[in-house]
């Protein structure tokens, strides 16, 4: 190696030393073996902590073309240095003069920038949306993993393509408009949504389109303006929205259908019942015609039975519909439990006995005479349960046990159990038992008929009253149906003697011997009905099916009173009466003639003054009992006076409702009521009426409610229109 070409440098003079010492850059002289010959203070400072004496330490010979970044390690205190070197002659030897510039701060700043970029990237990766950044030429410059996944292109393919890759043909025009808009108007600051969710779609690598939502924002960078698009796949949300829209439509349709059904049913109720009443009424009336040939009579009976059966079915269906539509209402009133049980006894004792089945009932528990509850519904439920018991029991017995007991909270509960020794019900059938429109085994349906709605109605009604109907049964072991409902203890209802309402007779007042009554009628149904009724009330009853047996029974039984039918085969009623009257003691017996044909029978009664009274058939229970009571000087116990029919929804006119009261209501309320009525919107109507009641006009509310409940919309409209 020659040294001539090199600039000989002498060890520094004093002035040179000062310059070297003041230099910000570190300066080292290193010999060709890599040993440090000289170091200025800046250089020493750079190596501080590693070596105290730089001179003589083995750093290494610099082999650097122009400059290089070297690192001075030292744990946390590592320094980044930009190093340059030149060859010099130092003390006659070739050496390197190395300058060291501390660039640690700059490096740290770069690193910080790098890590913030890293963070920015990881933010992009963490974002739930696909992120695509593209430049003014629509070239994609940055994507995240979600974008790869969503569009089904690998990152490399995305970064080599432009944004047209991501959208179906038809959207590309609009998107180029987007970047153009950004180019033309750089004042865009807030992110902008492109298109509405309904109209923007993305394009996957496999050619499939999917609905997206896209937000874009402008990025100002050193590489020019970029546009960042955050893209969300809204396929799932679209599906959900569609589903919820469908559900809304379905709900609205169901609501409309329900309204229509309610209207239809209320119309049907009226439309079917009216002609049914005519059919039943006239067939009954015709059946009483004595001149009717026997086959015609039996046809009429068939018509009548079928009609009653049909009416029962219709009532069931309507009841069920009412319960399902939530239109069934509770009408609580005071009544005697014992009275109800006696009625049931009168209804079922005979039916059970006719099948050779024993019927018994028992009232136990708290000595509560009167309760406040919906008697109609309780009666309906018990009739249903007892009816089923009779239907499905061929031998053994049926018992009805009713008890009133106090339970938690001082609430008094009515519990009624109908137990039978019938065919029983399998567990899996018990579940379906209370379902409307599902019947038990197919065979039973054929055998017993009916809608099979009875139990569903009973359960629905019990729920409405805050109770339940349940069953315990196993096949061949009979069944126990239980009704449990909370009731209120009540006092005897107020007696309204002058109301003109007839009160139901519960029985003959105590202290009297059972009065003896003889019934003479050739129709078994009439005899049975009468004797069941009278026996239920405490009379002692015998029956005869013609005149002869009536006369002989009169002798044996010595009745105080005879209920005598006129037309009977063999000896008729008139002849029988004459015979009795002409016999010894025959004048003391009270004879009441029962006849279906008022005019002709009266005419034929030449002995009119020989009988005590005359009742036209079909006779009402109250008229019959009234006359019997009057002739025998009996006192009855009565069920406390309740307007049994009037309280039922469906009764003709609102009671005590003064239309003038409506004038007090605000005009807009009236018009709301009118609209609700015209739209047949019963729910809204109920709400409005409830509001009226709460605002202190319960009388108007009740009147309107009754009209609404009975769907007398015409009447409502008339009322509302006049105000």
């Amino acid at each position: 190696m020659t040294t001539e070409s090199l600039q000989p440098i002498q060890p520094p003079s004093d002035l040179a030393r000062i310059v070297l010492e003041c230099s910000v850059d570190g300066l080292l002289v290193i010999d060709s073996d890599g040993f440090v010959l000289f170091a200025n203070p800046a250089a020493i400072a750079l190596f501080a902590g590693r070596t105290a004496e730089l001179a003589g330490f083995h750093l290494g010979a610099p082999a650097i073309h122009e400059s290089v970044e070297i690192i001075l390690p030292g744990g946390d205190g590592a320094r980044y240095v930009e190093m340059r070197s030149t060859e010099i002659v130092w003390g006659g030897h070739t050496a390197s003069l190395a300058s060291l510039r501390d660039i640690t701060d700059r490096k740290r700043a770069e690193k910080a920038l790098e890590s913030s970029e890293q963070r920015y990237r990881s933010t992009l990766e963490a974002a739930p949306d696909a992120v695509v950044v593209f430049n003014a030429n629509r070239q994609i410059v940055l994507v995240n993993t979600q974008a790869e996944r969503m569009f089904g292109h690998p990152r490399v393919a995305l970064l080599q393509g432009n944004i047209d890759l991501l959208f179906p043909e038809r959207f590309r025009q609009g998107l180029s408009g987007l970047s153009a808009r950004y180019a033309a108007d750089p004042s865009h600051e807030a992110p902008e949504k492109v298109g509405t969710p309904a109209e923007l779609f993305g394009l996957r690598g496999d050619g499939a389109e999917f609905p997206i939502e896209m937000g874009v924002s402008r990025l100002e960078t050193d590489d020019g303006e970029l546009i960042l698009a955050a893209i969300r796949d809204v396929t799932e949300r679209k599906k959900m929205e569609q589903r919820s829209r469908q559900l809304e439509i379905m709900a609205a349709e169901a609501e409309t259908a329900n309204k229509a059904k309610s209207m239809f049913l209320s119309t049907m109720s009226h439309e079917i019942r009216t002609p049914m009443n005519a059919i039943l009424g006239y067939s009954q009336l015709m059946a009483r015609d004595p001149n009717l040939p026997p086959e015609a009579k039996s046809y009429l009976q068939i018509i009548n039975r079928s009609g009653e059966h049909l009416l029962g079915i219709i009532n069931d269906v309507l009841d069920m519909a009412k319960i399902e539509a939530g239109r069934s209402q509770i009408t609580a009133r005071k009544f005697a439990v014992l009275g109800l049980l006696r009625d049931l006894d009168a209804m079922f004792r005979l039916r059970a006995q006719a099948k050779g089945v024993q019927f018994e009932w028992l009232l136990s528990g708290e000595p509560v005479e009167y309760i406040l509850a919906d008697e109609g519904k309780i009666r309906q439920i018990l009739i249903n349960l007892l009816g089923n018991a009779v239907k499905f029991t061929e031998r053994g017995r049926i018992s009805l046990r009713v008890s009133l007991t106090y339970r938690a909270g001082g609430q008094i509960w009515l519990s009624a159990q109908v137990e039978d020794s019938g065919i029983g019900i399998a567990i899996e059938e018990q579940r379906e038992l209370f379902q409307p429109f599902v019947q038990g085994e197919a065979g039973q349906r054929g055998r017993h008929g009916g809608t099979g709605l009875g139990l569903a109605i009973s359960k629905g009604a019990a729920h409405l009253m805050g109770g339940d109907v349940t069953v315990r049964s196993s096949p061949g072991q009979g069944s126990v149906f239980s009704l449990e409902i909370p009731v209120e203890r009540s006092t005897a209802p107020d007696f309204r003697g002058d109301s003109g309402e007839r009160r139901r007779v519960l029985g003959i007042q105590g202290g009297q011997d059972a009065p003896r009554i003889l019934i003479a009628d050739d129709v078994a149904d009439n005899r049975d009905w009468l004797s069941a009724l009278l026996e239920g009330l405490g009379f002692s009853v015998r029956s005869a099916e013609n005149g002869e047996s009536a006369v002989s029974l009169w002798r044996l039984f010595n009745p105080q009173l005879i209920l005598m039918d006129v037309h009977m085969p063999g000896m008729d009623g008139i002849e029988a009466c004459r015979l009795i009257r002409s016999s010894a003691g025959g004048k003391d017996t009270v004879i009441i003639i029962l006849s279906a044909d008022v005019t002709s029978d009266r005419r034929s009664l030449v002995f009119e003054n020989e009988v005590n009274d005359f009742i036209a058939k079909p006779c009402s229970e109250s008229e019959l009992l009234e006359k019997i009571g009057a002739h025998l000087c009996l006192s009855y116990t009565y069920e406390e006076n309740t307007p049994s029919e009037k309280a039922e929804p469906g009764a003709a006119d609102p009671v005590g409702f003064d239309p003038k009261l409506l004038r007090k209501l605000p005009a807009d309320l009236i018009s709301q009521l009118r609209d609700a009525t015209l739209n047949g919107d019963k729910a809204l109507l109920d709400k409005l009426i409830l509001g009226i009641s709460k605002s202190g006009d319960p009388l108007s509310a009740r009147g309107l409610q009754e009209l609404a409940d009975t769907y007398q919309y015409d009447k409502l409209i008339d009322l509302l229109a006049s105000h």
Binding site: A61, I71, P73
Partner: protein, 100 residues
């Protein structure tokens, strides 16, 4: 790691702190030189002080990249990115070494 054990006459260690640009250049340059001059007769190890910081102290490494000629003796050091082949050859005393 026993850095002195090798069956090659030339044992070189390149000390770095992470694979910085200078480190990559140094490795590239020294590999080229060795392949040209010492093919088959050298071993070259890269020692990253990030993994073994203690080695910096033990081996008297004050700056990286530093190339150390471990063998043959005596120990020689070169610093920088080794981008001046002449200087590297001189520092490692490779001029005397005949071209393969």
């Amino acid at each position: 790691m026993d850095i002195n054990r090798s069956d090659k006459p030339w044992v070189l260690h390149l000390y770095v702190v992470g694979m910085t640009l200078a480190a990559k250049r140094a490795l590239f340059n020294i590999t080229a030189i060795c392949e040209e001059r010492l093919a088959g007769a050298y071993s070259l190890d890269v020692i990253d002080l990030i993994e073994n910081p203690a080695l910096a102290e033990g081996h008297q490494i004050f700056a990286v990249p530093t190339l150390v000629r471990q063998l043959p003796h005596p120990l020689r050091k070169v610093i920088g990115d080794l981008s001046e082949p002449e200087k590297v050859l001189a520092a490692l005393d490779l001029h005397a070494h005949a071209l393969v």
